[in-house]
Amino acid sequence: MSTSVKVKTITMREAIVEALHEEMERDEKTVLFGEDVGKFGGINAITRGLYEKFGGKRVFDTPIAETTIVGAALGMAITGLRPIPELQFGDFVGIAFDEVFNKLGKWRFMHGGQMEVPVTLRLPVGIAGGAGPEHSQSPQALFMHAPGVKIAIPSTPYDAKGMLKTAIRDNNAVLFFEHKLLYAMKGEVPEEEYLIPLGKADVKKEGKDVTIIATALQVQTSLEAAEKLAKLGVEAEVVDPRTLAPLDMETILQSVRKTGRVLIVHEEPKTGGCGAEIAAQISEQALFDLQAPIKRIGSPDVPIAQSIYLEQFYRPSEDQIIEAVKELMEY
């Protein structure tokens, strides 16, 4: 961030809360709802103060009914509101799968492009302390297979705020995935209003030897690993796609062509995770720029154990990243 911009250091939670407050203030058509998002302020304390500020009509608690939450959001969106529903855990998207997969992304298209669907669906994801197999998943890759939705997945407070504000203003459905362990992470955010476009990847750290492509919490893990690698004489470049749809292949390919080595890191099961698609696209478009096979680190292809001790083995670690990079450097 340039020194001329006035900045403050806040958590990603605070950044998201700020984005919601600012956008709800800006546009009276915004409506926010979900389970316990009202007076309680959300189980992750993301909707704090909104009920008090905007009242019970624009900020309301819903019954436990994910299907209705997402379906209603679509109905509101096509009739002039700008709904911001929350699913308490991203895993619950399975309950509303029809509404997300078949409706949010397709309604506009299949009805001839005659309606707009400005829904921003917030979904907390990720392994975060013994929450178990149905409260710890990262299902975002499922929707890379669903034309018509945009997928945002920020890794810093700065990105979270700027991208959420853009998502809310977007006239299309945006699935906004937030890693629960990032909520407490601090970072610099400008005092002034700013927006980050969707579909623009960010090079979080430059390097010439290897490209590490990571999302959400794994961006932070990769940055830490990159620091250690630097001490070993390996300059890793860390690229955060920030949105999985649209996917900014231009920035990714630019980095791949520079380094010739690729490691993709994510917390999703390795099979069919977003890395599978990114790797396929790289091999289609830059195979002969590669000096080594593309490597992926994902979670193992088994449900996430509830045990706090065991769950750490699902989360890609610094050590795994360092080892994988070392292997790549041997080619």
Partner: protein
Amino acid sequence: MAEIYQKEIDLKKYSKEELTRYYREMVKIRKFDEHLIRLMMEGKVSGFYHSGIGSESVSVGSITNILRDEDYIYYNHRGCNQKIAKGVPLSKIYGDFLGTVEGTTRGLGAGIVHSADPSRGVLGQCGTIGSQFNIAVGTAYSAKIQNTDRVTLVYFGDGAASREPLHGSLNWAGLYKLPIVYICENNGYAISSTTEETHSVREHIADWAWGYGIPNCVVDGNDVLLMRECVSEAVERAKRGEGPTFIEAKTFRHRGHFEGDTYDYVDPEVLKYWKEHKDPIKNFKKLVIENGICTENDLLNVEEQLELEILQAIKKAEEASLPSPERIYEGLFA
């Protein structure tokens, strides 16, 4: 528990013009349907069509002279009935079936589902049957929060009523007192399964609404005027901010679930009874002629005029071009 809606219909309350309009709308729907089936026979349209013959009164009785363009509907699986009653131009609906650019989707093709005409409040329909229940409460919430008196009507069959979203939707509608009218077009069959085989209810599907504190009733859907009286009360209640209503309209289908359906799961005697004694158009025609409101000739004129109108609509839809292959890349994002 759900009461059977009964009302003495005072024909004098209605002008000749209004009554003729109900006749006209019902015949328009039937003729649309018959001509579409003809186009199917001619191989121009695929067989994915759910004929609405036999229940035209459910749609006309709940839309014509009740709903305004700004009121919203989500139509059901026999939804051409409702689209036509809501005023979507026939050429546009035929265009969707024929896949030409005249269609509401400009060539993407749409049949019973996915035609839309937002300017007339026709907001579309779900291919996953019954998923419109949730979308409809969103629309109703939208009208309420924007301080309009727009009403949302959500149509569905007895089959769709077994989908879980109905209950999520009824809970929201009752809880937030939303301006929404549920119209269950109960024709007795979900493809081949009867209502009794697939629903755990006390007696009627409308009984469910009672549990959510939502006013409800069962009405003879084949009596267009009774249907009209019943729905206009519900719509007025919604406009006054008094919340949702659930109406179960009893009817029957003259044809199978889809064209090509053998329809042999229905007792031919039962079908014969409905065709002979409960045909909404035949009965209405008899009513207005016997009461000296219209002459046979008046109604014949209406029919002839409609025939012409429909042939013109088909011509317009058929003469429009097929979309270019690029069409599939248009309109995904706003």
